[in-house]
Symmetry: C2
Subunit: 149 residues, 2 copies
DNA sequence: AAAATATAGTTTGACATAAAACTAATGTCA
DNA sequence: TGACATTAGTTTTATGTCAAACTATATTTT
């Protein structure tokens, strides 16, 4: 028994609280994957795939790293796993041989509907009972917080 | 050059956005530590120390784990480091020998003013130009988001 | 009292993550 | 053209993190 009651909505713990929210969201994503027999995939991998699904042009490592907000060295590891699991392939550019394009495999394309459905579910779940105005308000306040650092 | 512009305030990326905020906050904490010649300490370690500073009773591993929202196995590793750096000591309970109390050393107590000052600075920075109402509103919306999962 | 269960903490194994150092290729500029 | 700087990506190293298995002790149940 602790003498201390952790009040998550105390502004002092806003960062911890946001971490908790992220953790819950991630758990839900992983659970949804499991329901759909998708294993070995973490939310970060899903973020890569979702970005690839949406893109109309070939994407380089740096493009993806920027989008999912991870270091390029982290991305190398994440993509390695996606390659190993058969979701993506690396393709060396002809024009600039420094560049590697990451392209979806047939396996990944077949799963596109599942992944996009889960992505939509996540947003819908997060903002359940938020109206448009409320949603914008939250994002604005978070934006302000972000800029304060 | 990506064809995609990452709009951080798009509700779709709320989790990524919160991760970015956390990252910025963490970077600032680490920078503040460096300024004060405190090295080898990550934000999670600081969270442990800050909790110990505030507590009026001896704290067990589980108490701390609950407060800083980490698995107990993670806490073992974090505390190991704090022991190694000389900030805390482990103390076996006499009444219940399963229990280990974590107690601050002299070194840690001397640094209490510095740690609490940095903790206050972090909150002040986060909520710069937030009035009381705005602050509460943000926390309420985050609370709603949290409960939606 | 013995057996079963619960609790506290550590160890092990796996993984996401980032910083720094590195390789390789391209671009710039004097 | 040659030297220097930039860019793309990987490797290396280190760390925070969790889940599962484990040890040890205490509590509950039968």
């Amino acid at each position: 028994m602790s003498n201390y009651i952790f009040v998550m909505t105390d502004p002092e713990y806003i960062i911890t609280f946001m971490t908790m929210i992220r953790s819950k969201a991630n758990n839900m994503i992983v659970a949804e994957f499991k329901k759909n027999n998708i294993t070995g995939i973490a939310p970060s991998h899903a973020a890569i795939l979702n970005f690839l699904y949406k893109s109309k042009i070939k994407l380089r490592m740096v493009d993806i790293a920027e989008q999912i907000q991870r270091d390029k060295s982290t991305l190398t590891v994440l993509v390695n796993k996606l390659v190993k699991l058969g979701y993506v392939k690396r393709e060396r550019s002809d024009e600039d041989s420094r560049i590697t394009y990451i392209v979806l495999t047939k396996k990944a394309l077949e799963l596109k509907p599942t992944f996009t459905r889960i992505a939509r579910l996540m947003i819908k779940t997060a903002f359940k009972d938020f109206d448009q105005k409320e949603q914008k308000l939250l994002m604005d306040k978070l934006g302000k917080l972000y800029n304060n650092y």
